[in-house]
Amino acid sequence: MTTADANILIVDDSAIIRKYIRLAASRVGLTDEHVHEAENGQVALDYVSSHPIDIVFLDLNMPVMDGEAFLRCIRAKEELAELPVVLVSTECNEKRLQGFKGLGVIGYLHKPFQPEQLRELIDRIMRGLK
């Protein structure tokens, strides 16, 4: 798999943050058809259950189903238990972040972030997935 072939899912209730991440993804070679969006954890859960996704960029504070609930749901499903997840959030509580590592989170991007930080993270993760 090359970076350009990867399918990513952006899960965030903020439409502008989804566009912001989509823009950063385009700059590491991901075309629009490989970038998918969900506005909350429930929509994301439905999506990853029926579409091949290589990596999820996940916000925590969302309506309907928050990021933590989404994470616990996918880890409980055998077919999604290994799905790579990166948190993109304002969360800074060390104990809570440690807990997310225990749920298999492979990266964390603290908001606010610059587009360059996100591009570097996507690039690093995609290289690691090859």
């Binding site: 903020s14 504070n61 509580n93 060390e94």
Partner: protein, 153 residues
């Protein structure tokens, strides 16, 4: 309880906007000239505090914010759409940084969801009010924190 001052709120807001949208802000001088059109509200709770953060911004400020985030020209974004989305996200990030200033790295911080409101309410009795107004090329953002300390209720 950690100290939170207007200066700290101003400092963290400037830093966030520089990171998110490449905006350079300074303290507004002519506050009375501000005519904010858009407002948001978000709640947070940490330790013995349950507070609200209100943001108010002018149309031009929102266009600059959204276009900075999306690497677009200000005329290519709408203040009422992308601008308001950006203001809600900004309120979420500001609360995250306020929480960090108040010790959220080791103390649980509960953050609500940002909402668009039609005006900023007057200060409630018994709350501490932090009020700062920032300027970016004549366009303004007001950050208002109404802090309520549970032990004092």
């Amino acid at each position: 309880m950690n100290a939170l001052t207007e200066g700290k709120v101003m400092e963290l807001t400037c830093s966030i906007l520089e990171n998110m949208a490449f905006m350079m802000l300074e303290e507004a001088v002519d506050v009375d000239a501000m005519e904010p059109t858009f407002h948001t509200r978000i709640e947070y709770a940490i330790d013995q505090e349950a507070s609200e953060v209100f943001l108010s911004a002018t149309t031009g400020f929102l266009e600059e914010l959204a276009s900075g985030m999306l690497s677009a020209e200000p005329e290519d974004v709408s203040a009422g759409e992308e601008g308001l989305q950006a203001l809600q996200e900004l309120s979420n990030v500001i609360v995250g940084e306020i929480g960090r200033a108040l010790g959220a790295e080791s103390t649980p911080l509960i953050v609500g969801l940002p909402e668009v409101i039609y005006d900023i309410p007057t200060q409630k009795e018994g709350t501490e009010c932090l009020d700062c107004v920032l300027d970016s090329m004549g366009e303004t953002l007001r950050v208002l924190v109404h802090r309520s300390h549970l032990a004092e209720r």
